[in-house]
């Protein structure tokens, strides 16, 4: 091989062949092979510069130009074809890579929080927005905090409302029957009104277990002590709470009742969510669902907590967390919450 003409002819021929092959390539893999074939270090085109040594010095620039022309023509063709193929592939993506998007998803294995924990948190959140503060305290209590300080002296018939588990024969160490001992403990700890606290926790009563009674259950108790608190404030607070938890269309009512630690005392009811308060089967016909107990803190209780009942008044209200969960999730048997059948927990 010699002579500038020969070199120019060969470069042109290679480029022509290459362009033809590139135009015919129909995927990116084939283009890759052609790049090696036509531009690789062992390709015919790359052998051309080795022949420059036999050329006269004045012929070499022309030979170099011929070589470069061929190389850049091939490179441009490769890039152009690659772009064409890429566009074609993307245009076809919807068909070529389609999957069955209706195939069921594969959820990760996760657990969940117990429904009572979640309800408790929801209750706390509502109350915290109103400036209440969560307090917790002992479940194994003394007679003083559970009964005596709450205006329930020994031998009082009202103690029968709260059948009690005891740890000793003198019956002064017991399982708290309600969260109300924390009324006294909170007043003692915080000392100076305004006191706005909420106490969630486990409580215990010596009741035979059935669908609506448990020996161990959870209560939430709210206590407010300040100057000038009224029954109206109690009603408003419960209404705010009920509407936050169940919806703005709900109403509440309070009915006179009796607890030794409040005076006056009430039960509070929530308007039925099924019939809106007209009366239906869900609410037993009277339009109201019983939720919990409440009242104005008895002056003796304030005094036992170290608060001057002539200056301050207070209100307290409480209910079972399970009761809230039952109303929320249509659960008809309390025992389900503590049995922990995972099929039940996973529904809620």
């Amino acid at each position: 091989m010699s002579g500038i003409e020969e070199i120019e002819r060969r470069a042109r021929a290679i480029a022509e062949r290459a362009l033809e092959a590139i135009a015919a390539a129909d995927d990116e893999e084939a283009l890759g092979r052609l790049r090696v074939e036509f531009l690789g270090s062992k390709s015919e085109l790359m052998r051309i510069p080795k022949a420059f040594a036999g050329l006269a010095a004045e012929e070499r620039p022309a030979a170099g130009r011929a070589f470069n022309r061929a190389r850049s023509a091939i490179e441009e063709a490769l890039a152009r074809r690659a772009e064409e193929l890429r566009r074609a592939r993307l245009a076809d993506l919807g068909a070529s890579e389609a999957i069955d998007v209706t195939f069921p998803g594969r959820p990760p294995q996760v657990g969940r929080l117990h429904v009572l924990t979640r309800i408790q948190r929801e209750v706390e959140t509502v109350m915290e927005r109103m400036g209440y503060h969560v307090e917790d305290g002992p479940e194994v209590e003394t007679d003083w905090y559970n009964f005596e300080a709450l205006n329930l002296p020994r031998g009082h018939a009202a103690r029968d409302m709260q059948d009690t588990f005891f740890f000793n024969e003198t019956e002064d160490l017991l399982l708290r029957t309600h969260t109300s001992p924390m009324q006294i403990r909170s007043m003692e700890r915080l000392r100076r009104p305004p006191i706005f606290v909420i106490v969630p926790g486990r409580t215990y009563r010596r009741d035979a277990t059935d669908a609506s009674h448990l020996a161990q259950f959870m209560q939430v108790e709210a206590l407010a002590v300040d100057e000038g608190l009224t029954v109206g404030d109690l009603k408003g607070t419960i209404l705010y709470f009920a509407q936050s938890l169940w919806g703005a269309e709900r109403r509440i009512r309070i009915r006179p009742s009796f607890f030794p630690y409040t005076e006056p005392s009430f039960e509070f009811d929530l308007s039925c969510g099924v019939c809106g308060g007209v009366g239906c089967r869900a609410c037993g016909g009277d339009g109201w669902l019983e939720v919990g107990g409440c009242g104005m803190v008895h002056p003796n209780v304030l005094r036992n907590g170290g608060i001057d009942p002539d200056r301050y008044t207070g209100f307290a209200w409480g209910f079972g967390i399970e009761r809230i969960a039952m109303l929320r999730h249509d659960v008809d048997d309390l025992r389900l919450f503590y049995e922990n059948d995972l099929r039940f927990l996973e529904q809620l």
Partner: protein, 793 residues
């Protein structure tokens, strides 16, 4: 309390309301009506039994009756045998729905035509008794039962323990009238006092020895009584209130108890030895055969009514059989007394005997009520049993009840209720409730509650009276809006601070459970966990007689329940308290918050090991979710855990619990198959740690990562190798963590290969290969020297 609608409305003077309306008025006044049951007897007839024969072929005993219904006879089959020929019985014909709910059908029972039903008392809602056919003592065949027992309704009313004055129809009638804006036109104290000589004080003597337990004892002698059936109106009302008539004398005492709420008792005066009543404590060893036929052993802490010789009644609880009224009785001693509520409650609990009388006395009745009850009963005995009531009853009343006066300013009512109640309305309400109001010139009111209202002592009590009759639905809801001058800064509760831990565990596949804190002491003992257990002395069952000292048994019970219901593997956790008794005299225990996690249903040692490592990983993630704590482990032995697969968990150097595979014996104890991994740690110390996360400067130079496969004897543990690597690696070693363990062809027997990933980095420059190689070389020789390690390529 079961209340007759007819009786209540008659006393209250209310004739224009339906039972549901009365129920609502009572409920809103504080007397919750739990149930309203109409008793419609319009379809029931009176029948006379002509013949009674046993069923010839039925396997259960059945009786075939021929019943005369006036214009025809029918064949009726019944299971009870007490409707003997001649009996008058209530009959429901086919197509009738009896008040108890049963629809009577025409048909055959065991081959015999059954053309109706003979009713028991429960079917007519007269009592709970289903053991026998109700026998009527009047009426004629074919008569409508309603002519004898008018249709009524009964209300089940919940009377709160502070209102024993409303354990009678009269008290509730006063409340009903007040709630409806009306006033009762009947005085509390009946005027009747008797009029026959000689005076009662000549006929009996009464001595109260135990003045602490008996505040008043009235004995009214009534002579010439003719014992027999009560008139129809009286029997009907007893039935309506759920009490079966016995005879006119006993019926009157029951009637007055149901009317006034004052329990009464009638003795046969001829059987009271020495015509003397002594109210005293029982003598040691004394016994009494009671009206229910049982003989009870009495003890000196019990109050009895005795005659000159022996106990004749247990005070406020039950009468004695021998001194009771019979058909032969002619002279009666009517007892109307007041016994200490706490004392009666204690006796009733000791004897496990709760009666109509004891349940009233135990709430603390007013001694003034005794006289009202005595007068009413004496008048009725004269009326219905022809008794001659003597003048001057014995009335032992050593310490008369002090009058109560509550001083308050009427503004206090508005201030506590949060609504303005006009003064006139306030006064009207109190008067309707039988309170007296004296308006003072100083702006104070003196409010005098009626004698039977022992529950009203404080201004707040008076406010309650006004409020509940005024109507709490008229109190507008408000929110406390005072200008607060002090407050508590917001802070999450301890429990809420643990929520990220809960969420992390849930994200790792564990479901939170909430299990009872009371467990079986025997179970704790079997598991070796009874060390500091608190035992309940009056458990309901031995399944729940102790406070748990650990969460693991409860979690295992959850696994058992789910296994029994078809789920062989569970992954659960609980955050809850353990209860740990303190030494010394009984006192409040420690109640530390714990975390327990359990995963069951694993098969084989390899799966057990993998689950163990996963559990450790989950724990580290969960703890990291609440704060940047350091967790490490050391081999340990713990009760209930596998001896070779258990580690102590240390958080920031503090041992807080254990993690491991459970011992096969533990699994066997719960009858669980397969393997399980579990952990239990104390959360209290973690909550007390500094859990704040602090940002550090990001590294400016790249890290170099190297793997190292270390071949050592089986007994050498990863933690020990890691410690050596760290100390040999020095400051430039950023981290080192074992990630693979291998045994097999390339490792000699009795040895294992542990692969570590090590990351080297300098805060000041990019490390060169040569530097890192030198460090790795140093680490290799330290491992070889301290642990006899070899290395795989």
């Amino acid at each position: 309390m079961r209340v007759s609608f007819e009786w209540l409305c008659d006393l209250a003077g209310v004739h224009d309301l339906a039972p549901d309306q009365v129920a609502e008025a009572l409920t809103l006044a504080g007397f919750s009506v739990e149930e309203v049951r109409p008793v419609d007897l319009s379809g029931i007839l009176v029948g006379r039994v002509l013949e009674q024969q046993p069923h010839p072929s039925s396997r259960t005993p059945l009786w075939i009756h021929r019943v005369d219904l006036g214009d025809h006879t029918r064949t009726i089959v019944a299971g009870a045998s007490n409707a003997t020929p001649g009996s008058l019985v209530p009959v429901a014909l086919p197509g009738t729905r009896v008040p108890g709910g049963t629809l009577v059908r025409d048909g055959k029972i065991a081959g015999v035509p059954a053309q109706g039903m003979l009713c028991a008392e429960d079917e007519l809602l007269i009592s709970d008794d289903h053991s026998a056919i109700m026998l009527l003592d009047e009426g004629h065949p074919g008569q409508r039962l309603e002519e004898l027992l008018p249709s009524d309704a009964w209300l089940e009313v919940e009377v709160t323990p502070n209102r024993p004055d409303c354990l009678g129809h009269l008290g509730l009638a006063r409340e009903l009238a007040a709630a409806l804006g009306r006033e009762l036109d009947r005085p509390f104290m009946p005027p009747f006092t008797g009029g026959v000589e000689p005076p009662g004080t000549d006929l009996v003597t009464v001595e109260i020895e135990a003045v602490d337990l008996c505040r008043r004892y009235i004995g009214a002698p009534i002579s010439g009584v003719r014992v027999g059936p009560s008139p129809r109106w009286l029997r009907r009302r007893l039935y309506a209130a759920g009490v079966r008539p016995i005879n006119n004398v006993v019926d009157v005492t029951n009637y007055v108890a149901l009317e006034y709420g004052q329990p009464l008792h009638a003795f046969d005066l001829a059987r009271i030895a020495g015509r003397t009543i002594v109210v005293r404590r029982a003598r040691p060893g004394e016994t009494l055969r009671c009206l229910d036929g049982e003989t009870r052993r009495l003890s000196p802490d019990m109050l009895v009514i005795a005659d000159a010789e022996r106990a004749v009644a247990i005070a406020g609880v039950i009468g004695g059989e021998e001194s009771g009224v019979t058909e032969r009785t002619t002279d009666v001693l009517l007892e109307a007394a007041n016994f200490d509520g706490v004392g009666v409650r204690a006796v009733s609990r000791t004897l496990r005997l709760r009666t109509e009388a004891s349940s009233r006395f135990e709430k603390g009745l007013s001694p003034e009520l005794a006289l009202a009850g005595a007068r009413r009963a004496a008048a009725l005995l004269a009326q219905v049993a022809g008794g001659r009531v003597h003048v001057n009853w014995v009335d032992a009343y050593p310490r008369p009840q002090e009058p109560v006066r509550v001083r308050l300013r009427p503004e206090q009512v508005d201030a506590l209720l949060g609504v303005h109640v006009p003064l006139q309305e306030m006064e009207d309400i109190l008067r309707r409730l039988a309170f007296q109001v004296r308006v003072g010139e100083d702006g104070y009111w003196d409010v005098l509650p009626p004698v039977f209202r022992l529950d009203v002592r404080l201004p707040a009590d008076v406010v309650e009276e006004v409020g509940r009759i005024y109507g709490y639905d008229r109190v507008p809801p408000t929110l406390p809006g005072g200008r607060r001058t002090s407050w508590l800064p917001a802070a999450p509760s301890r429990d809420r601070r643990l929520d990220p831990l809960r969420h992390a565990l849930a994200g790792a596949g564990y479901t939170e459970v909430v299990t009872p804190a009371m467990v079986s002491a025997a179970l704790l003992e079997r598991l070796g966990l009874a060390d500091r257990v608190m035992r309940v002395i009056n458990p309901i069952s031995d399944e729940q007689d102790a406070m748990r000292t650990a969460l693991l048994p409860s979690l295992l019970q959850v696994a058992v329940l789910n296994r029994n219901r078809g789920r062989a593997s569970v992954a659960v956790f609980e955050v809850a308290r353990a209860y740990l008794a303190l030494p010394g005299p009984p006192r409040q225990p420690e109640e530390p918050l714990r975390l327990g996690v359990l995963r069951t249903g694993l098969s084989g040692p390899e799966e057990g090991r993998a689950a163990f490592l996963e559990l450790k990983g989950a724990l580290e993630r969960a703890l990291d979710a609440i704060g940047p704590v350091q967790v490490d482990y050391e081999r340990a032995h713990a009760v209930g855990y596998h001896p070779g697969r258990c580690a102590r968990v240390r958080v920031c150097g503090r041992p807080l619990g254990v993690v491991g595979e459970l011992h096969p014996e533990t699994m066997a104890c719960f009858d669980l198959g397969g393997r399980a991994v579990a952990l239990e740690i104390d959360l209290e110390p973690v909550l007390a740690m500094d859990l704040r996360r602090r940002a550090r400067p990001l590294p400016r130079f790249p890290a170099v990562e190297r793997d190292l496969a270390v071949v050592v004897d089986e007994a050498v543990e990863a933690a020990a190798l890691e410690a050596t690597i760290r100390s040999a690696g020095g400051a430039l070693l950023e981290s080192a963590r074992a990630y693979d363990e291998y045994r097999g062809a390339q490792v000699p027997g009795g040895r294992k290969s542990v692969t570590f990933t090590m990351v080297f980095r300098s805060p000041e420059r990019t490390l060169t290969d040569a530097e890192v190689n030198a460090l790795v070389e140093r680490i290799r020789s330290a491992l070889a020297g301290e642990h006899g390690a070899a290395f795989r390529a």
